[in-house]
Amino acid sequence: MTLSFLIYKIILVVVVFAVTLVVAMYSTYAERKVAAFLQDRIGPNRAGPFGILQPLADGIKMFMKEEVIPGASNKALFIIGPSLVLLTACMTGVVIPWGSPLIIDGTVYPLQITDVNIGILYLFGVISLGVYGIMIGGWASNNKYSLLGAIRASSQMISYEVAMGLSIIALVMTTGTLSLSQIAEQQHGWHWNVLVQPLGFFIFIICAFAETNRAPFDLPECETELVGGYHTEYSSMKLGFFLFAEYINMFISSAVIATFYFGGYNMPFIERFVQDPNWLAILGVVFLFMKIVFFIFVFMWVRWTLPRFRYDQLMNLGWKILIPLSLLNIVITGAVMMREEIFQLLFK
C-alpha cells in the first residue's frame, strides 16, 4: 500500500462519484426528453440549446425552495431518511469494474475501486439497506399516506429481493465466483452471460425495476392512490434527494445488469482492431457506458409505455411467478451443469 496507490484510489473514488452524479443528473433530462419523444412532444427546450441546462435549473429550483419540516414529525429521522436513501444509492458503485486494468510503467491500475471477493453479496447487502431510508422517511413524516407508501415500498422491495437473489444464485453457479471483476473477465468476446442465463436475466431485470421503484412497479409513490407516497411531506432538496436517488439507482442497476449479463466492458471482435491494452481499457469504459445508456433508455421506455400494476397483482407476480421461475432456473442450470453425471446415472 504505497502513497501513490492510495492517491490513485482516492482519485478513482472521486471520479466514480462525480460520474454517478452527473449521469443521474442528465438522466432526469433524458427522462423528460424520452417521455416527450414517446408522447410525440418536444420536451424541455428553454434552458440552453435543446434544453441542455434543464437539470441545472431543476437543481437550483430544488435548493431555493422553502424547506418545510412538519411540526408533528420526528425531526431527526425526518432528515436522516432522505440522507440514507442517497447514501445507499451512492455506495453500490464501489464494486463495479468500469474497465480492464490500465498498465502504466509496469504498474497495474485497476479501473475498479475495490475488488472484494464477495462483491455480489456486498451489492446485495447495500440494496437490502436501501429500504431503510424510505421506511424511516415515511414513518417520520407522521402522515398516513407517507406511512402507507413506506410500507408498500418495503414489502415490495423485500419480496423482489428474494427472486433477485435466487436469479443471481443461478448466475453464480455458472460463473463460479462472487467477484464482479472475475465475472466481467469471464465474458470476454461473445461469452456473455445472457446467452447462458436468459431466464435469469429476465427475472433480474424485472426485479431491478421493482427494486428501484420504477414504473410499472412505482406503487409506493402512486399519485392516484397515495398523493405522493413516502415523500408526500417532503419539500425542497430533501424531496430532491428521494427523486435523485431513484436516478442513481437506475444508473447503478444498469451498470450491474451490463456487468452481470452483457459482458461488462467487453465487446466482441475489438481485439482485431486495437491491440494496446491501455486503449482497450479506455474503449472498454466507453462500451460499458454505451450498454449502461441503453439500459437506462429501457428503464424509461418501459416507464412511459406500461401502465402501473395493482398492488395484489404486484405481490402475485413476485411470490407466485418470479420465485418459482427462478427456482426452476436454478434446477435447470444445475441439471445442465451436471448433465454428464446424470446421463451416466440413468443409462449406465
Binding site: 420526528n74 471477493n117 453479496l121 429500504v131 431503510y132 421506511m135 418495503s154 414489502s155 429481493e161
Partner: protein, 166 residues
C-alpha cells in the same frame, strides 16, 4: 496493531448501541439502534476475516429481519398512551430476577476454565470457498437438517396465518 484499536472501537460502539436499544423510549428508535448494533457485529466478523459471514449477517439480519420488525412496530404505532402500565411489584420482581441472572452468569464465568483451541487458527477459514467446502463436506448433515428446520418454521407460520383450516 490497528485491528486491536478497531476491535475496542467496535466493541465500544456495539455495547453503546445495545444499551441504547434498551434505554430509548421510542420503539422505532430501539429497532434502529439494534440495526446499528448488527453493523458493529458485522465489523467484528470482518476483523476475524469472515467476510462471508459479515455480508450474510447484514443481508439477513439488517436487511430482512429488522425491516420486518420495523414494519410491525410502525403499523402498531406504539407510543406512551398505548403502553401498558406495570405495577411497582412487577418492576421490583423483574429487577430481582434479572439481578439473580447476572449473579449466576458472573459466577459461572468466574469458575469457567479458559478454553484452549485444539486446531491451529486458519486465517482463511472464513473466506467463502473454504466455508462452502467445509459446509458441504464435513457438516453436510447439520446443514441440511437446519434447512428442514427453516422449512418447518415457514410451514408453521403459514398454518398460523390461515384464518380457517379446512
Amino acid at each position: 496493531m490497528i485491528t486491536t484499536y478497531l476491535f475496542y472501537f467496535l466493541s465500544f460502539l456495539a455495547i453503546m448501541f445495545a444499551l441504547m436499544v434498551v434505554f430509548s423510549k421510542n420503539p422505532v428508535h430501539s429497532v434502529l439502534y439494534l440495526v446499528l448494533t448488527f453493523f458493529t457485529i458485522a465489523g467484528h466478523y470482518v476483523l476475524l476475516n469472515a467476510q462471508f459471514l459479515a455480508a450474510v449477517h447484514i443481508i439477513v439480519y439488517a436487511g430482512a429481519i429488522m425491516v420486518l420488525f420495523l414494519f410491525v412496530i410502525m403499523l402498531l404505532n406504539l407510543n406512551k398512551e398505548t403502553e401498558p402500565h406495570k405495577s411497582v411489584w412487577l418492576k421490583a420482581s423483574a429487577a430481582v430476577a434479572s439481578g439473580l441472572l447476572l449473579v449466576v452468569l458472573v459466577g459461572s464465568l468466574k469458575s469457567a476454565e479458559t478454553i484452549v483451541a485444539t486446531n491451529a487458527f486458519d486465517p482463511n477459514i472464513g473466506l467463502i470457498e473454504n466455508l462452502g467446502k467445509v459446509l458441504f463436506s464435513e457438516f453436510l448433515l447439520p446443514f441440511e437438517v437446519s434447512s428442514v428446520l427453516l422449512l418447518v418454521a415457514m410451514v408453521g407460520a403459514v398454518m398460523l396465518g390461515k384464518r380457517s383450516i379446512k
